[in-house]
């Protein structure tokens, strides 16, 4: 809890951020309405693809878009510029595309507190009394919805990038982000199925690679960098951005890993313990494998990835992860990474408005804002 009086500019900054988010959502709704009409011009029956995207994107927290917006301002960009609005929409659509397919991979029934897209189409199939397998129809429709969302994210991003001072550089970074996320997701599912028994140091290394590429870089590093690049940021500023955003993104995902095991449904929109049922090989699990005695390692290994884990079994695995100190270790990492991130921000060469905005956002992400 900050003991000092609030900075008078803070209120303005915070209001401007809210106003950006409002504009972003209006712009996204407009674009999606246009895409809906594009679908309708092919066939009225094709509009559910766009409707599914529109429903999903309504629920986002806009973290990536806001990071891009501050990155843009930190490099001297005008906060009301159309290009950073579109770049924000592109990041939100890209995230939605990743979530739609990720929920198929993870067999997740819910997303943002509502049914995941493949479950939504599956339910629609059942309710309509259609033929053949509802589950297969649901997955197939969600594959196509994700493909469309991925394509639209790129379409919107390219229009923002083309109008910017650095279209080629911005596009290259967007491409790098996509590539990394897809590779990271593959490493994630690979770690779930590969036979364990690696040494703990290797397990930790693999968990960190997944965390970095599947999440940290695309959740924080790339959005901030893209905002900066679009406004013409040079290498020095981008390096400062990265020193701030890289530990921030890692802390963000470590917190998400804790939530995936220890709850809480309100924050995640998903049932507690889902990451255990899916067999996610997070840093939390890697630490536990190093800290637990052999008998309990076997118990953890046998529970991980069992989709039938009930409430008691989840509670027992939670106890293992807690009692061996793995949870505390990850919580300590979150704190250290958060400190490193905020220290780097303090040293970054940018105007105080952007610094203050990014600091407030970082503290919100790090849950230090109360």
């Amino acid at each position: 809890v900050p003991a000092t009086a609030p900075d008078p500019s803070l209120r303005d900054n915070s209001d401007r951020e809210l106003s950006y988010v409002r504009d972003l959502e209006a712009r996204m709704a407009d674009l999606l309405e246009g895409y809906r009409q594009r679908a309708d011009s092919i066939s009225a029956s094709a509009t559910p693809l766009v409707d599914a995207i529109a429903t999903l994107v309504r629920g986002g927290k806009r973290m990536r878009a806001v990071l891009a917006w501050w990155g843009w301002q930190g490099a001297g960009g005008n906060p009301d510029d159309q290009r950073i609005l579109d770049a924000g929409v592109a990041l939100e659509l890209f995230q939605a595309a990743a979530l739609i397919h990720d929920d198929i991979l993870d067999r997740s029934d819910t997303r943002r507190g509502a049914p995941s897209i493949h479950r939504r189409f599956e339910q629609h199939h059942r309710q309509s009394g259609w033929r053949q397998d509802p589950g297969h129809f649901g997955v197939s429709s969600a594959i196509l919805t994700g493909d469309l969302c991925l394509s639209l994210s790129e379409e919107v991003f390219a229009s923002a990038a083309d109008a910017s001072v650095n279209p080629v550089g911005a596009r290259a970074l967007f491409n790098e982000m996509r590539f990394e996320v897809m590779a990271g997701q593959y490493l994630d599912i690979l770690d779930e199925v590969e036979v364990p028994g690696q040494d703990p140091a290797e397990a930790l290394q693999r968990a960190r690679t997944v965390l970095r590429f599947k999440s940290a870089r695309y959740s924080a590093v790339h959005p901030l960098g893209l905002g900066g690049l679009l406004a013409g940021a040079g290498e020095d500023l981008l390096a400062h951005y990265q020193r701030f955003s890289s530990p921030l993104g890692e802390a963000f995902q470590l917190q998400d890993d804790l939530l995936g095991v220890f709850g809480n449904t309100v924050l995640t929109g998903k049932p507690a313990g889902d990451d255990l049922r899916e067999g996610k090989r997070t840093e939390l699990v890697a630490h536990a494998l190093a800290l637990l005695p052999a008998g309990q390692v076997a118990e953890l290994e046998s529970g991980l990835g069992d989709p039938g884990l009930d409430h008691d079994a989840v509670a027992r695995l939670q106890g293992l992860l807690e009692d061996c100190g793995a949870r505390a270790r990850v919580e300590r990492d979150v704190l250290e990474l958060g400190d490193r991130s905020l220290d780097a921000l303090a040293q970054a060469p940018m105007d105080d408005g952007a610094r203050e905005g990014l600091g407030r956002l970082a503290r919100r992400i790090l849950r230090r804002d109360h």
Copy 2:
């Protein structure tokens, strides 16, 4: 069989086309090697995603790339230009991405005579003795491989478009193509599951919409138009292109529909009757529903979409489609569309080299080249 002596320029044209295809394949292999290194820089374990794409694209017929190349030349483009090489690679990668996901939707075990990508990853899982469900791992990996391939196709296309005279127009057409294919695929799976009993005219209309958007436009109209646009073709030439390529693409897909029901495995790389097991609502089926008496309509309906159809059941459904005249009707449509396409080509304002090349390609697609 042409009775006239071969045009001496034909041999040159044909050789130049072969040389373009060779260069295209070399360029695609180079680009994929670069992407493989990009994956390797994240983790050696991520390279199978790129390897899967590289294996799949080795088997293509390059129809779309060659159409783009002739479209480029018809608009005055230099046949050896790097940009049309890259545009061709982008079209091949886009097709590969569509096939990877389509094979999941259609539960296809084979593609281009080899296991489909999800089956390939599934087999690898089994052979490695990994944990959890091999089928789910296969589908998940193929979803990510298709996502990556879709992203790479756009990345390559953008680099070609950016260096062209009309980057915005070319990119818009590429976006339109993606949108149409995804919407068309959705309409296709929707038609498979929706309860039938529509009137025959509506069934035919729906089948034609799927044919057009899922296949004809992306197989012929857009590749040719993209090649033309990249070389600066004006509206008039593009309209001529479309009068040629639209019936060509429809004939191409109608032939594919016939192959999907009546064989042949050598041409398709897939077992005969697969379209019946998947319940594809093609124009062939729509005609049969209009032509057959009620009792046989019921028989056709009950067989369509039954994955367990054996050889005898397939033969019986083939007989229904044949005896009622549906097959002959589609064959006649193929001939008429082919004639319309070749007539339009004869009237298109372009130099004779490009016209001859497109004519030869069209006759190959229409199987009139022997």
